[in-house]
């Protein structure tokens, strides 16, 4: 009798806790997740354009002639490990360890910048070989899709520097932690888009 009463009471309490207002961090993450999904829908339009135009090389160079898979593998690893260090940075921030966060954030920035450097070097090399965006519909679609991903990485790097400055200036208070959560979501989502780029553009392009 006593046990069941306590059980019923604790069940009621648990129910009240679960049906109360969601914590701000959950609501903020949900809102930012909606933005990321809309961004991914935008990328899907660029992916569709690339998939439709990939064969239209207009007598110009094809993907198999242009793509260097070693370079692509290096880029993929840079972005993947930067996702990992970004995650560890977010973890350090949650554990209120600002020095560790700054260390991991710096590593994330260096790896992201290395990715961007390799990508720009690839673009410059292609343009020098006469494979500029204006050469064919395939190359227009290629530069738009991959360049849009690179633009997102650039925005992410600027955001990361801004977040590091906020942690230094304001400390790891709740509002800063929520912004960091949004940054983490953004950075990991970029890696997901890159998996699509790597597979559909490069690995299938060399077949």
């Amino acid at each position: 009798m006593t046990t069941t009463t306590i059980e019923a009471a604790s069940n009621r309490l648990a129910h009240q806790r679960d049906s109360g207002p969601a914590p701000t961090r959950i609501v903020v993450a949900y809102g930012f997740w909606i933005f990321i999904l809309s961004d991914i829908v935008m990328f899907s339009a660029l992916f569709a354009a690339y998939a439709v135009l990939a064969g239209n090389t207009a007598g110009g160079p094809t993907g198999a002639e242009l793509f260097n898979l070693r370079n692509v593998f290096l880029m993929t690893m840079c972005l993947l490990v930067s996702s990992y260090t970004g995650g560890l940075g977010a973890l350090s921030a949650e554990q209120r360890k600002p020095e560790r966060f700054l260390l991991f954030a710096a590593a994330t920035f260096v790896l992201g910048a290395a990715f961007l450097f390799l990508e720009i070097a690839e673009f410059v090399g292609m343009i020098h070989k006469g494979a500029a965006p204006s050469r064919s519909a395939f190359l227009s679609a290629f530069f738009t899709l991959v360049g849009m991903h690179g633009a997102h990485v650039t925005a992410g790097l600027i955001w990361l520097v801004y977040m590091m400055a906020q942690v230094v200036a304001k400390g790891l208070r709740a509002a800063v932690l929520r912004r960091l959560l949004c940054f983490s979501l953004f950075w990991h989502a970029l890696d997901i888009v890159w998996v699509g780029v790597m597979t559909l553009v490069y690995l299938m392009g060399v077949q």
Partner: protein
Amino acid sequence: MDGNGYLPEDRSPGVEERESTATVASYTAGLGLAILATIGSFVVAQTSLLWPPGIPVGLIVLALAQIGVHLVFFLHLGSGPDNTNNILALAFGVLIVFLVIGGSLWIVDNLSTNMMPGPIN
């Protein structure tokens, strides 16, 4: 009950009460699985051991597996009650992505099949 020490009713709306479930181990496991899937993709794309028409299918399967690893280990999209809305939004996003990509390919393929042979080709 959880060991917060205060009654659930004491919580004011919007207070951060729960930290994320991420650990160094879960991030490391995610990194390991993602690297495996990436290396797998590059091997599948360059090997001569596989039947060539099957390679794109293998690449797509590996890419979907890696996206799943990223969602679970890096974005922490799980089956918890806090994630229900996130999962529903993701399902809607995936629907739109498939409609846009699949629909474009379908329509354009249909168009080029029915195109009159032009002087260029």
